[in-house]
């Protein structure tokens, strides 16, 4: 089995790159990159570094100056000495105290309910109404909590099933017996 060597590119302080840059390895920027960056790994913009371009990356840590938009698959962190003007789009964003940022922030999956906290919905018209605050997991029209004995899921079942309770097929396992007896075609 061929051993994959993990490399890191370091762009030194006197280097200026213009144009387009594509990378499948971590990139440390200490110089000036005026090239559109597309990377499947991390971009680390160090204090002396400057990026004047948009970047589409896996993750980024900004300690230098960047004018451009960053779209990251995983995470963007703006360090205390980081300065950014541009838009950020990432599922996880950390801005440290001292960082300077100006731009738009968007997060994919923003609306997804947290696993821990109940989803809170403001009810502007009824704020003065009597009654305790309504939390989504108690309301009728909120997202129904997942209970262990929940009836059929919406997921596509490969075959027809007559019994009332359906368990999604799990490849490789024994066919699951439903609680109720009834005619049932094999799901797989």
């Amino acid at each position: 089995m061929a051993e994959e060597k993990v490399t890191t590119t370091i762009i030194g302080p006197t280097i200026v790159i213009k144009g387009k840059l594509k990378s499948d390895e971590d990139l440390v920027v200490r110089g000036r990159v005026e090239a559109e960056i597309t990377s499947t790994k991390a971009v680390l913009l160090e204090n002396s570094g400057i990026i004047k371009a948009n970047a589409q990356v896996h993750s980024a840590r900004i300690s230098g100056a960047i004018v451009g938009n960053i779209t990251a698959e995983a995470r963007v962190e703006i360090a205390p000495d980081g300065r950014m003007v541009g838009d950020l789009n990432a599922p996880l964003i950390v801005i440290n105290d001292g960082a300077a940022f100006r731009g738009r922030i968007d997060m994919p999956n923003f609306e997804e309910a947290r696993t821990v906290e109940p989803k809170l919905e403001p009810t502007p018209e009824s704020l003065l109404d009597s009654g305790p605050p309504v939390f989504a997991d108690e309301s009728q029209d909120g997202i129904a909590p997942i209970l262990e004995d929940a009836p059929a899921f919406a997921a596509a079942a490969p075959g027809e099933v007559d019994s009332a309770i359906v368990f999604p097929p799990i490849a490789g396992d024994e066919p699951v017996r439903p609680e109720k007896h009834g005619k049932r075609k094999r799901l797989y």
Binding site: I50, K52, A65, V67, R75, R83, M84, V85, L92, I93, V94, I95, N96, D97, G98, A99, A100, F101, R102, G103, R104, I105, D106, M107, F110, R114, E117, L120, E121, P122, P124, L127, L128, P132, P133
Partner: protein, 112 residues
């Protein structure tokens, strides 16, 4: 200064103004002005308001624009929609935010 508290069961609609630190655990809709103080939006709070403060710590849900003369802190559990203008901003990992952030950014000469 012990902050004032707006409890979980309280809902306010209108203009909220004050000269003391305030922790909100309930719901506020309208505007909040605590220009020289610290506003804490607790975990259970739901704020639908524009806010003008010195400092704000958001741990709950907020929809509205924030203007802070000192610092905005958005905690991990927070969910914020709206624009922010402040000289200092801290966003913890996991915080959910959508909006425009306006800060003074000092860039190296000739960059912008």
């Amino acid at each position: 200064m012990t902050p004032g508290v707006i409890g979980k069961g309280i809902r306010i609609k209108g203009e909220l103004r004050g000269e003391e630190d305030l922790a909100v655990e309930g719901r506020v809709e309208g505007t909040i002005a605590l220009k020289h103080n610290h506003l804490i939006v607790e975990n259970s709070a739901v704020i639908t308001a524009d806010v003008d403060v010195q400092n704000i710590t958001i741990k709950g849900e907020m929809r509205g624009n924030t203007a802070a003369s000192d610092k905005v802190e958005i905690s991990t559990e927070a969910k914020v929609i709206g624009d922010i203008r402040a000289p200092r901003i801290v966003m913890e990992e996991g915080a959910r935010f959508r909006g425009v952030v306006e800060m003074d950014v000092k860039l190296p000469p000739g960059l912008l």
